[in-house]
């Protein structure tokens, strides 16, 4: 029947349209230290603010120095008051370039990741 054929086509179109989309959700709103920033004094923690509330058990930050060594204390935790804020504390840092790698899952179950660098010292 023509009606069913037409709606079948619609269903296929909808499926194809949907199949292409599988993006991530929580976006990095603000970072401290900021992306690309140069700091005079070494920071003691990295604080990342996201656009959505996060699942604590599936959100982490890893900070590496220019040789790839991990320089954070491995204690990524979501702020109790504001579930959109993720922090990790840092070991004492010397001058140089550092890379922040984050991977988070928002409460509506979507994961995203990203990275940026900051510099300590002149």
């Amino acid at each position: 029947m023509t009606i069913h054929a037409g709606t079948r086509g619609l269903v296929i179109a909808g499926v194809l349209a949907g199949a292409a989309a599988a993006y991530a959700h929580a976006h990095l709103d603000r970072a401290s230290p900021g992306a690309g920033a140069t700091l005079a004094a070494a920071p003691t923690e990295v604080t990342l603010h996201f656009t959505q509330q996060l699942e604590p058990k599936f959100s982490t930050i890893v900070v590496r120095d220019s040789a790839g060594r991990q320089v954070d204390k491995g204690d990524s935790h979501v702020n109790e008051e504001d579930a959109a804020v993720l922090k990790v504390s840092l070991q004492p840092l010397g001058s140089g370039m550092y890379k922040v790698e984050w991977r988070v899952t928002s409460v509506d179950t979507h994961s995203s990741k990203g990275e940026y660098t900051f510099r300590v010292g002149k």
Partner: protein, 671 residues
């Protein structure tokens, strides 16, 4: 190809809605007329239970699949690996999705018990009602697994309430279509009487009408929260999927309207005159009862197919970032609306009467056409004249004044509604300043006033980027011009400047323009909004304060040089609702003030204060709770901020008068 989660979600949604729909149909549509059905009712009830149990099985299997696939996705493992390392337990016990899954499992168990307790042989309305309530809850609980779970605060509660109602209404209407078709087929086979079929169809129509109303109202609420603007609707994947869903919904409503307005009355006609029914039943025409029943059943299945297509879109929508969260929606048109003209008194004087004329012309025209249509019976000869007059008035009104509409539109580019991902941070502005000096100052001048040496001999002078005109254009407009140039007057810089560089430049141009205007206004601007550069400070009590999270307080920024210790101590003893933030540029004791260790912030603030980089010691700024820069003071300026009364007045003025939105001119760029 594609994300299997979309298909699993679709199957689970379809199964859940079908389950809830069948049970609600049994309780609300068939239930009240079950006694009259007699034995035939048992057959129908059996059919409903079979739909419910099959849907239950599909929902269970797809629900488990959803959990497994999702756990694999968020832990970045293969589905087989999640059973080790306790990943599955972590998801179930420590995530919002997991908690919701467990709650729905409990509801499913209760629902199975309720369904099992229903005997299809007897009329059992209370048990159907209990099952309907449980099934409705089972469907509504899906809100915690979708985008509504991520909306924060009271808005989140409201969003989830609206979304829950949306799911229940969809269950009742979409989920009831298959049961309805079942009932109509039973009527066609003469297992139940036509009168009962008509009653049931009418009841379902009413249920459908209420559901459609609820779907529209809750759909608008959800759409507003998750898409929220025209660019987001047109320019993001989420928005376009949503528009497709709305189109399919309207198609469903159209088919339902045909059922309600044409076919159901025909059914009623055949019911209310039995002798005709006898005759008609054997007539091979389209108006007989069997034919009408077949048409109704077929249309219901068409609606159900459309509904299934909607659920595919819902599956996709659930995995797409909401439009309101997308920073960069693409705009497909060459023009966009701009309310800038309303800010100019002269333009407003031309614009507003013209808009009234257009509106009035359209209204009169439509009224004349309607009157003409109504008069068709009483005064048939008048009708064509009225309709013609109405059309003329409407078209003439619009055509004559339409050129005025160019005043409310402005040239647009695909990137016009892009928002900078930099958050207007100090480091972005500083980097932008460096890029500007290298790439732009030669034409636009060292301070951006359009007085660069290379531009002196150009026919069209480079723009003064500190003029008020800069406000007429969005960040996205600049984001288009930098790589593409402007016609023949500005060359493209696409190769030299990448995305990040362009946003840095745009942030710098904005900051530079604002700083220039602050300078021209003598540093005292209490009601024009200049966005403050982003700052973040650590306070003695362990909390962090930043531009966008001032929590209702005014921020008093001090660029703290060597001599600022006393000033900071004096300020700390003041207003509790003002947070003092020191940006140290030297080794200085800041006392109880919050600390923002940010050299680049100090540089940017110096620029806002009209000083060179490094010369900003002692500058003070007041930022209102919305993050807008309101006034600047340098040591030596009058009135003197060192006077406590002056400070009180400044702060009170800021609290009492929120910053006005900046008015901007309208402009169409020439070639």
């Amino acid at each position: 190809m594609g994300d299997p989660l979309i298909f699993i979600r679709m199957i689970h949604f379809a199964a859940t809605l079908s389950l809830a729909g069948a049970v609600i149909f049994g309780a609300a549509i068939v239930g009240p007329i079950m006694r009259q059905m007699g034995d035939a009712g048992a057959g129908l009830r059996g059919g409903l239970m079979r739909i419910a149990w099959w849907s239950f099985a599909a929902a269970l299997i797809s629900g488990v699949a959803w959990l497994v696939l999702l756990a694999a996705q968020i832990s970045e493992r293969k589905p087989g690996e999640i059973f080790s390392e306790g990943i599955l337990w972590t998801v179930l016990l420590h995530t919002t999705f997991g908690h919701d899954w467990l709650a729905r499992l409990v509801l499913a168990a209760l629902l199975a018990a309720a369904l099992g307790g229903i005997s299809t042989k007897h009329v059992d309305l209370p048990r159907w009602a209990i099952a309907a309530l449980l099934a409705g809850a089972f469907a509504a609980a899906l809100v915690h697994s979708g985008h509504a779970a991520a909306t924060a605060g009271w808005l989140g509660t409201f969003h989830r309430a609206a979304d829950g109602l949306h799911l229940i209404a969809a269950s009742a209407w979409l989920g009831g279509l298959l049961p309805l078709a079942l009932l109509l087929v039973a009527a066609r086979r003469e297992e139940i009487s036509l009168a009962l079929a008509r009653d049931a169809t009418l009841r379902f129509s009413t249920l459908g009408l209420i559901s459609v109303g609820a779907l529209i109202a809750t759909g608008i609420i959800n759409g507003w929260i998750l898409a929220g603007s025209v660019p987001a609707l047109i320019g993001t994947d989420y928005g376009r999927l949503l528009l497709a869903k709305v189109a399919l919904f309207l198609a469903m409503v159209a088919v339902a309207a045909i059922n309600r307005l044409r076919l159901t009355p025909r059914l009623a006609l055949t019911v209310s005159s039995p002798p005709c029914e006898e005759a008609l039943a054997h007539k091979p025409g389209a108006n007989g009862a069997p034919a009408t029943l077949r048409a109704l059943a077929r249309n219901s299945l068409v609606e159900a197919t459309l509904g299934l297509a909607i659920l595919v879109l819902v599956g996709a929508l659930g995995t797409t970032p909401p439009g309101s969260h997308v920073l960069q929606p693409s705009w497909p048109f060459a023009l966009r609306y701009s309310h800038a003209a309303f800010g100019d008194a002269e333009l407003r004087a031309t614009l507003v009467p013209a808009l009234w004329a257009i509106g009035g012309g359209l209204l009169c025209g439509v009224m004349l056409i309607l009157i003409g249509a109504q008069a068709r019976r009483a005064h048939p000869r008048l009708t064509p004249w009225l309709i013609a007059a109405g059309a003329t008035v409407a078209i003439a009104g619009v055509a004559y004044f339409a050129p005025i509409l160019t005043l409310v539109t402005v040239e647009a580019y695909p990137t016009s509604f892009y928002v900078a991902p930099t958050g207007y941070s100090a480091s972005s502005i500083v980097q932008g300043g460096r890029l500007f000096a290298t790439h732009c100052a030669s034409c636009h001048g060292r301070e951006g006033r359009g007085d660069g040496r290379a531009g002196r001999f150009l026919r069209v002078k480079p723009s003064d980027l500190t003029a008020d005109h800069v406000d007429s254009h969005t960040d996205g407009d600049f984001y288009w011009w930098i790589p593409n140039g402007i016609g023949e007057v500005m060359p493209p810089f696409g190769v030299a400047l990448d995305e990040q560089a362009r946003w840095n430049l745009i942030d710098f141009v904005r900051a530079n323009a604002d700083a220039a205007r602050l300078g021209r206004a003598g540093g005292k601007v209490t009601n024009v909004g200049y966005r403050a550069p982003d700052f973040s400070a650590a306070c003695p009590d362990g909390s962090t304060v930043s531009r966008d999270r001032l929590r209702g307080r005014v921020a008093h920024l001090v660029v703290a040089g060597r001599d600022s210790a006393q000033r900071l101590a004096h300020l700390a003893a003041h207003d509790r609702d003002v947070v003092i933030i020191a940006i140290p540029v030297a080794d200085v004791a800041i006392g109880a003030a919050c600390r923002a260790d940010d050299v680049e912030l100090a540089t940017v603030l110096a620029m806002f204060g009209g000083k060179d980089a490094g010369q900003g010691d002692g500058l003070e700024f007041l930022v209102d709770p919305a993050g807008t820069l309101r006034s600047v003071w340098a040591p030596g300026d009058k009135p003197d901020w060192r006077d406590a009364d002056v400070m009180e007045r400044e702060i009170a003025a800021i609290r009492n008068a929120p910053a006005a939105t900046r008015t901007t001119g309208s402009h169409l760029h020439g070639p």
